[in-house]
Symmetry: C2
Amino acid sequence: MAARFALVIDPAASDDPRTDFADTFTVIDPGAPALSVSELSTQRGDGIFESIGVIDGHAQEADAHLQRLAHSARLCDLPEPHLVQWSQAVARAAESAGDGEAVIKLILSRGIEHGPTPTAWVTAAPAADFSGPRRDGIRVVTLDRGLDSGAPARAPWLLLGAKTLSYAVNMAAIREAHRRGADDAVFVSSDGIVLEAPTASLILKVGERFVTPAPTGGILHGTTQLSLFEHLEARGASTAYETVPAAALRTVDAAWLVSSVRLAAPITSIDGLPVAVDAELTASFNEYLLSPRV
Amino acid sequence: MAARFALVIDPAASDDPRTDFADTFTVIDPGAPALSVSELSTQRGDGIFESIGVIDGHAQEADAHLQRLAHSARLCDLPEPHLVQWSQAVARAAESAGDGEAVIKLILSRGIEHGPTPTAWVTAAPAADFSGPRRDGIRVVTLDRGLDSGAPARAPWLLLGAKTLSYAVNMAAIREAHRRGADDAVFVSSDGIVLEAPTASLILKVGERFVTPAPTGGILHGTTQLSLFEHLEARGASTAYETVPAAALRTVDAAWLVSSVRLAAPITSIDGLPVAVDAELTASFNEYLLSPRV
């Protein structure tokens, strides 16, 4: 949905000793013109982002998202974000969100072409209603990501572990999934290793174990997946990061795409092949994910 | 350099019968806020672009660029641009450019998130002075693009033949080239086939033949390369599109990166190995490329 709140950040140096950054924030009308056409985010998708789920004004796992923003910045040779400053901006956006579910987006762009500093802003918008997919599930298709599983280590300039603004391929993959009559996609490496969804992580249930593809540089380490694994481990369940061959998707006992805003969506079919849905377990996942998490 | 002219286009349907689109253009201050933070170009690099060289107010090969914009739109499921409308916008931007060299950028974004239409704009800026690289040349390094040469045909959702705004990897490749003491990069597929530079096409001289990697979906078909090949053919030279293995780069007689604004930059070394520069031929290339071309 359209953003209802936006603030522009004047990015502080990462060693700025201040403790209050309120005067570096400018609240703006989220629908009004705010960015120049010379913005490199808009010209070249040259920047990084995070999407944070918000429940009743509480930003979920803000620290994990900020740590990942800093990680993306390092991979992209962007100035290190000042985490206290960004954390205060997130708090400010969360306050604006009110009751119910919302999404906060953090964007750090390389800035104006030939300009002196990055551009940064934070928005908040009501979340779409995802109760349907959380309960009834989603159909997914596997799509070749074109890259082999050795590419991330061999070619760090492909920025595979960074959450960059260059998401055109992710969006095209979701359109391709729709064309194939599915709701979402799961990327597979050209050598047949399961990766991630365009905007979510994949969790599989294999017997009594919960398995997710190992984030070895080629995929993002999902904050929601991490949080759910901690939750499962605290309840005595067995979890694992593994190299998952695409063929293994045919024999899973259950599967979910998990992400910060849609949360846990059970997968009902993969490439047309039905996957069993554990409704009770899925409900417990979403109950946990909807509870306040730090 | 910073844009000195910008206009926003209200995109017409591709079958709009009008012949004068002047009232669909809004000239704006290129440095002023113009785009909302909900722009999908800025959030996800979700859009397409073209860069057109301008010489003394003449937009070089505007039609070829507009055709490629339309091709990119089709690959990205964006509404077909109205070519008469865009052509008039280019003419308007070219008029603003004055004498000397300039660059016009065309951007077609998917628009505001959940909004009804794409967003489109055109900018003009003075070109940087490229007389140095045109005369003295550039050092390049080869960088693995991670994708094998079968990926474009197998996985059209990778948008490999589209000039999308998702250029973070292209920019990271140029930064990696700089880290290695070079000026630019040449991408090579994971199975060792030479592709293109992050923002330019590669032309090789092999004996008396001019060769460029075949644009079989995995690379952009360079407008400058096309124009130069036409020029060479008209003068009786032999040109060819070929599958070029990376090893063949070691034995070329000369090589250039060619693009719309820097034009023909002779390559002086590839991965540290010297490449001979044909100064006279390079000067003739740039003389041609600087002449008015339609």
